[in-house]
């Protein structure tokens, strides 16, 4: 019933991610981690070419490069310019490779064709509906996972017997690849929305639980002791110290795992779906429409970027104290 048609859901990003989930969610780390799995192969390719170009341009750039000091911050406007520059460079390399005829159109569409067929998709083939379905699935599955993972994660972080009870199983379960469950889930839940939500739930829930438990468990002991000497009881310590203290880190965890949920939903839609961005991509595969596939991928990237920015903005608003002195 289930044939592995189309690009296989890559297990590699999952493995990479699994490594840094164990580490505390540092700010810079979370940022890198988000981008790496998605953009690993294309960016490293063009990064090499970029290096070659600047080296050829002369010694002034090279000297400036030498003047970089470790950990020295970048001015905000320069930071944005640099970030945009790489996008531009990326598209330039892509355009050069495709328009220059280095790569056959069958394998890789050029940027203009991609934009044109993207417009066709949106204007004539109701692609907006697919986008809407995908967003709905991601949010639905993610919200359910978060709603259940939050209380369990907090309970595990706060109470060590609860952690001892659940932690080994959750550690095991989070390494089960969500995509491997798809055949089973189709058997159990059909190919409807329940199955899509279930894939995202499995992908997000166990990771969320563990990371939230670690964040809560890392609360400074002296703050807990101070709360006790101020008259807190055990539940008060959980409510008024552990949870508010871990809240910004939990918000960061949610932001990161939401990013992963995006990869799960596409995988779920590649197999047995009648709508969604992933479904459009599978359809396009049959037609060798690489322009549409690329457009779909870029849309996913853009939505991911937007939700990430919104999340960051929200976190900054919600937890101004966590931003101080950073």
């Amino acid at each position: 019933m289930v044939s592995h048609a189309g690009p296989r859901p890559s297990p590699l990003p999952k493995a990479e991610r699994a490594d840094f989930t164990l580490a505390p969610v540092g700010r810079g780390q979370g940022r890198d981690g988000d981008f790496e799995p998605h953009a690993a192969s294309p960016s490293s390719g063009s990064g090499l070419q970029a290096g070659a170009r600047t080296a050829g341009e002369g010694s002034s750039a090279a000297r400036r490069r030498l003047q970089m000091k470790p950990l020295e911050p970048v001015a905000p406007h320069r930071r944005i310019a640099l970030g945009v520059a790489f996008f531009v460079l990326f598209v330039l390399v892509w355009a050069a490779v495709t328009f220059g005829g280095f790569v056959s159109k069958t394998f890789l569409a050029d940027p203009l064709t991609m934009l044109r067929s993207g417009w066709t998709l949106l204007a004539e083939m109701n692609f907006a509906y697919d986008i809407g379905m995908t967003v709905w699935r991601v949010l639905g599955g993610f919200v359910i996972a978060a709603a259940l993972a939050l209380p369990l994660g907090v309970a595990m972080g706060a109470y060590k017997p609860i952690e001892a009870f659940f932690e080994p199983f959750v550690s095991f379960a989070r390494y089960l690849p969500a995509s491997a469950f798809i055949p089973l889930l189709i058997l159990w839940a059909g190919i409807g929305e329940t199955q899509k939500l279930a894939v995202i739930f499995i992908g997000a829930f166990f990771n969320l639980v563990l990371m939230i438990a670690v964040a809560v468990g890392n609360t400074r002991r002296d703050l807990v002791e101070a709360a006790y000497t101020l008259g807190c009881d055990h539940r008060g310590v959980v409510r008024r110290v552990l949870i508010p203290g871990a809240a910004p880190e939990i918000a960061e965890i949610l932001r990161m795992v939401l990013g992963w949920a995006w990869t799960y939903v596409i995988v779920a839609e590649l197999i047995g779906a009648s709508s969604g961005i992933g479904h459009m991509i599978t359809d396009s595969q049959a037609l060798l429409a690489t322009d549409q596939i690329i457009f779909g991928i870029i849309v996913i990237g853009l939505i991911g970027l937007a939700s990430d920015l919104l999340f960051k903005l929200g976190n900054r608003r919600l937890f101004p104290w966590a931003q101080i002195g950073r």
Binding site: E225, Y228, R240
Partner: protein, 263 residues
């Protein structure tokens, strides 16, 4: 001396680890009377902090017991306010909300909380900083807030575990004067752990010296200086005499502690 409000009876503490047992605190007796300002002085690792933590209820004695107003201490409580050496303000709360923390736990109405908090923020000289977060404050200001937070709770006793230990010398002296002024006005009972002899003598009406590990009380001296105390007493002859005696005692303990490490 009036009847003790705090009595420590035969309290000892033994830590058990993979490397074997360590006796951190030998059976210790100490009585603290109402309005006492007692400083506990000793070399590091002598168990003075352990003793204070047992009084706070944050640690359990291996033997013996501590009674506050005749009731055995089993766990931490709002009746023993504590100021720690590390900065323990809640970073997600402003100065005002940190000071309100215990009041809110007691279920006071918000308006009442703010009144009390404002008064204590004023007493520690932080008026105007109510809306600041701890990370925006210097170490000294954080410890003042911690003091206000502990005092606002109206504890029976104030326990202080080297609260000024991380501050620079000048800030530390100002903090001592501030604390002394508040104590003279509020007449709290204070148990204050330090390894700074000047600090111990300047504020206390009684100085207790502890021996090197295993800790026990070696010396218990009243301070022959009246209140209110001006910082100039630090250069007075009675101050110097007591300081000289304590210095000898503490020095002997530090040497003993070092020899114990070598041997």
């Amino acid at each position: 001396m009036s009847a003790p409000i705090l009595s420590i009876r035969g309290v000892s503490r033994r830590f058990t680890s993979a490397h074997g047992d360590t006796l951190a605190l030998e059976a210790t007796d100490l009585d603290v009377a109402e309005n006492d300002f007692i400083t506990i002085l000793g070399p590091s690792g002598c168990g003075k902090s352990t003793l204070l933590r047992i009084v706070a209820g944050l640690d359990r004695p291996s033997a013996g017991e501590v009674q506050l107003d005749g009731r055995r201490i089993e766990e931490p409580g709002a009746d023993r306010g504590m100021v720690f050496q590390s900065y323990t303000l809640f970073p997600w709360l402003t100065v005002r909300d940190n000071v309100c923390f215990g009041l809110r736990e007691r279920g006071l109405a918000r308006a009442e909380q703010l009144d009390v908090a404002q008064a204590f923020i004023g007493k520690v000289g932080l008026t105007g900083f109510e809306q600041h977060y701890p990370k925006q404050l210097s170490g000294g200001m954080q410890q003042r807030t911690a003091l206000a937070r502990a005092l606002a709770n109206q504890p029976r006793m104030l326990l202080m575990d080297e609260p000024f230990g991380a501050l620079d010398h000048q800030t530390r002296e100002l903090m001592q004067e501030l604390l002394l002024g508040i104590w003279e006005a509020e007449r709290k009972t204070v148990l204050f752990v330090t390894h700074d002899i000047d600090e111990a003598v300047f504020m206390a009406n009684r100085v207790v010296v502890m021996s090197a590990r295993p800790g026990r009380i070696k010396l218990d001296r009243p301070v022959p200086l009246g209140y209110p105390r001006h910082y100039s007493v630090k250069t007075s002859p009675p101050f110097a005499a007591l300081k000289a005696e304590l210095m000898e005692q503490v020095r002997a303990e530090v040497l003993a502690a070092q020899q114990a490490v070598v041997a």
